[in-house]
Amino acid sequence: MTANTDETFDESHVIENDSAVIDSDAAADSQDFITNQINKIHDEYQQRKAEGKPEETQPRIDFAPYRSSVLRHPTKDLHHADPETIELWSPAFGHRDVHALEADLTIQHNGEPLGERIVVRGKVLDGAGRPVRNQLVEIWQANAAGRYIHKRDQHPAPIDPNFTGVGRCLTGDDGSYEFTTIKPAPYPWKNHHNAWRPAHIHFSLFGTDFTQRMITQMYFPGDPLFSLDPIYQSITDQKARDRLVATYDHNVTSHEWATGYTWDIVLSGSNRTWMEDEDAE
């Protein structure tokens, strides 16, 4: 049976050169080929930055080493809009929506999940450094063997019957969030031959303005797969890439229980007119 994992789903097209899209098996490209492609884009970025072009802080959406991006990115520039009315607000979430226990991914089944128990803690801030209060944070991740609970993840690693890998919480008044979970493992995917994703936790975030909506991935420090991964490397600037890497924090680690990581998340700026009482810390 052909493994139906991740990028095989509808992956019938790859870029062979800069202009032509042809039918091919994406997984035929070697890691060296992909790495060279990544390095070429990064070198060009460094050169342009040295010439005074602005520092990039977000991923490129047009990033050919990530094969699936080729036909799924707009080719026209994003059009500038001044946010209006509904865009200056976000949906409100509350305790009707999220139970406090949903922040612990290790207690959702009858038994204890396998793997390294961890706590991930941090703050959600807006571009002005204001805490994003009482707002929804959602996470999902692979288990300690690198397997997702998903019909399209069929790679030969065990499912853990005690781990779904899904959690939610609301931020506190200081923008803080905290999850207890299991450290996810890297897993293989079909972008190219012998492609492996660095271990990561997916995060979904809301701000005070809907324009701040964000989905991203948190990584773990020192992952040897970083330089090989076209999704992580779609962020061309090292400083920006570092913003996705959590910090091991022994003060978050708890005695004979769990190791701890901290990771703060900064959303884009709010465009709403803030009043003193809303702004007060």
Binding site: D6, E7, F9, D10, T57, Q58, P59, I61, Y66, S68, S69, V70, L71, R72, H73, P74, L78, H79, H80, A81, D82, P83, E84, I86, W89, S90, A92, F93, H95, D97, L125, D126, A128, G129, L136, E138, W140, Y148, H150, R152, T164, V166, H202, S204, F210, T211, I215, I231, S234, A240, R243, L244, L267, S268, G269, S270, N271, T273, W274, D279
Partner: protein, 190 residues
């Protein structure tokens, strides 16, 4: 109003990937109102890639005012009671790239302003979120005066205006790339 003293750089986004299925969709996620609600409409369409092929693993979210133009501050989007209008909806497209929301026509938030629904798009292969607007087609005067629409050439402008179907439903396709590529938006402070 206060001055923003600190200016932090935003954390980068990353693709939603393919495995959000147990995390993000939830019961009645796409039903902003119950189908039996007076004035309920279907908002639907297809998400396409650069070759015109439907994308089967996109996730869409909408956020909108109610029929009278009021922006809801109610909680309860994740646990719907079928009565409270929260203004937020989420939907994973089906295997043919098709999505359906059950909602109401948003009212104008100010007299003479063109009503629109705010839409955000996520997909495997899409390395960052994309924002756009779904305008209602009826108030042509308001559409003509709209600052965003009037800053766009005619052929691009029409990608942001939904089609009204005979039964009152709204139809809106999303084209990530290629011919009739949807206009996607950036905002100050991004």
């Amino acid at each position: 109003m206060t001055q923003n003293s600190t200016k932090l750089v935003a954390t980068p986004g990353q693709t939603i990937g393919p495995f959000y299925g147990y995390a993000l969709p939830y019961e009645k996620d796409s039903q902003l109102v119950h189908r039996a609600h007076a004035g309920s409409i279907r908002l639907h369409g297809v998400v396409y890639d650069g070759q015109g092929t439907p994308i089967p693993d996109a996730l869409l979210e909408i956020w909108q005012a109610d029929e009278t133009g009021v922006i809801s501050r109610e909680t309860g989007s994740l646990v719907r009671d079928d009565h409270t209008f929260t203004g937020f909806g989420r939907v994973a497209v089906d295997n043919e790239g098709h999505y359906t929301f059950t909602t109401v026509n948003p009212g104008a938030t100010q007299e003479g302003k063109a009503p629109f629904i705010s839409l955000v798009v996520f997909a495997r292969g899409l390395l960052n979120k994309l924002h756009t607007r779904i305008y209602l087609p009826e108030d042509t005067d308001a559409l003509a005066k709209d600052p965003l629409l009037s800053s766009l050439p005619e052929e691009r402008r029409k990608t942001l205006i939904a089609t009204r179907e005979a039964n009152g439903d709204l139809y809106f396709d999303i084209r990530l790339q290629g011919e009739n590529e949807t206009v996607f938006l950036s905002y100050p402070g991004a």
